[in-house]
Symmetry: C2
Subunit: 342 residues, 2 copies
């Protein structure tokens, strides 16, 4: 019998359709064909994110220098060459007939995670991972107080099915001059929960999942990674900080370092269990907490792109998930955490 | 400069990023490889929706008999063999720790549109199209008053990228015991608009688009097809009835016949302009209008699956559309409407 599960934050219902369920290891995807050394070199020569091709991108905003090579960089942040939103000019309202328009003021940056084209986040060293989180933190905080910004998201698209266009490992940051509607529903839902329960729903579920253990994937001093009870997608994973905070902008250095560890830990499990699946990693954080500071709780979500949302999902916003979160969690929890890249 | 456009119904903002824009004909997708007669026969012998294989599906709920062949059927409605929601039993609430669960009571049916495996909706005759709309209407109305149902969606997944698993032309109907959250935001947004403007937002935009013409794709006595001003997806198309009605359940026979015509007209344009793209067709209709009867306006949406939503879309619910709706409308409007299937 299928089951409907309620998201305690957004109050949406998700269908967990066990009759259609695959076993967890059936989601594993095939690896790509290996390229020859010549093909690799040609690809790197054309890659705007590779060292030596810095002229192919706009000037850098931030760079962390390499410890081993004083000429090189380890992490490089640049404006997106084809920005979805652009920082030029003043925000202005306009209209076309009955409709409202805003000019697309905002920020769209690329965080190049490593100088190595064929590297990946799962094989970065601890200190490289810490620097990556540090770059996230630094850009988030530098933009935080810019006038006209309502929201900042940091995200990472990995693999074809996750909508990535460039292979070279990178994350992106987009800052918008409006509050994205669906993100706002998260905050609103959390506030309604807070009003009734007098506690943050994320703190509540974190406490429950920590004790219960059935949906736990990994944990450390500062974070817990879980398969969310009402997951929209198979293997949807939430990484929640144990310390309540509405905004990523306020984390401590210890939390930053623990975030680096758990992000890589979970992504290694994905790689081992699901064969390098496409995924989106997304930051959910309130830029201007104010009233919702007690109700909202920043976190990361990882959405592996293993299935295709179809007419039902697009037409209703309600999701059918063919995999039980408990099984996904068990499969990932029992994975080894060391990887050998092929 | 990118542009933010506001959806007057849901109040969400959509980014129209013209810098990244492709020309309309760049979205055209390649056709599939033609199968040999032997491959076709083998595929048909295994297809549960083909005539002769009726035993491979649960017993039919409804069948329209063929006019040419008294033994055969033209349209056949069956319960989905692997239902996302199932009609057995009573709706009951339950809980797991801090979470709410409902058992998955509901309806999941398949509407087989033609006995011909390699046919498609764009090459059905007028009377076949009318029968298809009639089957939609009949099932919607037969289920309408079933206790415990809050919403019914009829949808059609066409092509790999739209999440279809069986080639044989078919639509689906899912009835849910809860109101899907995102659909509800449409209704809520329309009600807020109605409260302020004292008119239905769909009627308002229909009137505007009919006069303006820039986003018009096709029209007939009862319907207008437009590229929506704040489209989330390239070539997103709305088919709106000229007569205000909150529910599809109340259309006239004339409207039903005109719906058959415009659905096929638009899908033929898609085929001609975009090379048989994957798409989802979805019905948006209020099952129990009551209070929202004046604010909400039923319609169909067609979402071609030409691009991949990535981390920004999944993490915020805000969409970046790389194609201007005005250009998409022009391209489709100027298409010929006759097709020759390859």
């Amino acid at each position: 019998m299928p089951e409907l599960r309620k998201n305690i934050i957004t109050r949406e219902w998700v269908v967990i359709a066990t009759e259609r369920s695959k076993r967890p290891d059936d989601f594993s995807v095939k690896k790509e064909i290996i390229k020859t050394k010549e093909e690799q070199n040609l690809e790197k020569s054309k890659c705007p994110f590779c060292p030596g091709n810095e002229h192919m991108t706009p000037p850098e905003i931030l760079a962390y220098k390499s410890k081993n090579n004083f000429k090189g960089w380890q992490i490089r942040v640049i404006p997106n060459k084809f920005p979805a939103l652009s920082p030029a000019g003043e925000l202005s309202h306009n209209s076309v007939g009955i409709y409202d328009i805003l000019n697309g003021i905002g920020v769209h940056e690329v965080i190049i995670e490593t100088p190595e084209h064929y590297n990946d986040i799962i094989s970065l060293s601890n200190s490289q991972m810490e620097e990556l989180v540090s770059a996230y933190f630094e850009r988030y905080n530098q933009l935080k107080n810019k006038f006209n910004l309502e929201h900042i998201i940091i995200f990472r698209n990995h693999g074809d099915r996750a909508g990535t266009s460039l292979l070279h490992p990178h994350s992106q940051l987009i800052a918008t001059p409006v509050m994205p509607k669906e993100f706002w529903y998260e905050v609103e839902g959390a506030s309604i929960y807070y009003e009734y329960e007098e506690r943050c729903p994320y703190c509540h579920l974190l406490e429950f999942e920590d004790q219960d253990g059935e949906r736990k994937i990994a944990e450390n001093d500062s974070f817990i990674a879980i398969a969310f009870f009402a997951s929209r997608y198979p293997f949807e994973t939430w990484i929640l900080p144990r310390i309540h905070n509405a905004s990523f902008s306020q984390i401590s250095m210890k939390e930053g370092n623990d975030l680096a560890l758990i992000l890589q830990d979970v992504l290694k499990r994905f790689y081992n269990c699901l064969g390098d699946p496409s995924y989106n990693l997304t930051l959910h954080s309130l830029l201007k907490p104010e009233k919702q500071a007690e109700a909202y709780h920043w976190h990361f979500k990882i959405i592996p792109r293993l299935t295709t949302p179809a007419g039902f999902e697009l037409g209703t916003g309600m999701f059918i998930n063919v995999s039980a979160p408990e099984e996904a969690a068990k499969f990932l929890r029992e994975s080894k955490t060391e990887v050998v890249l092929t």
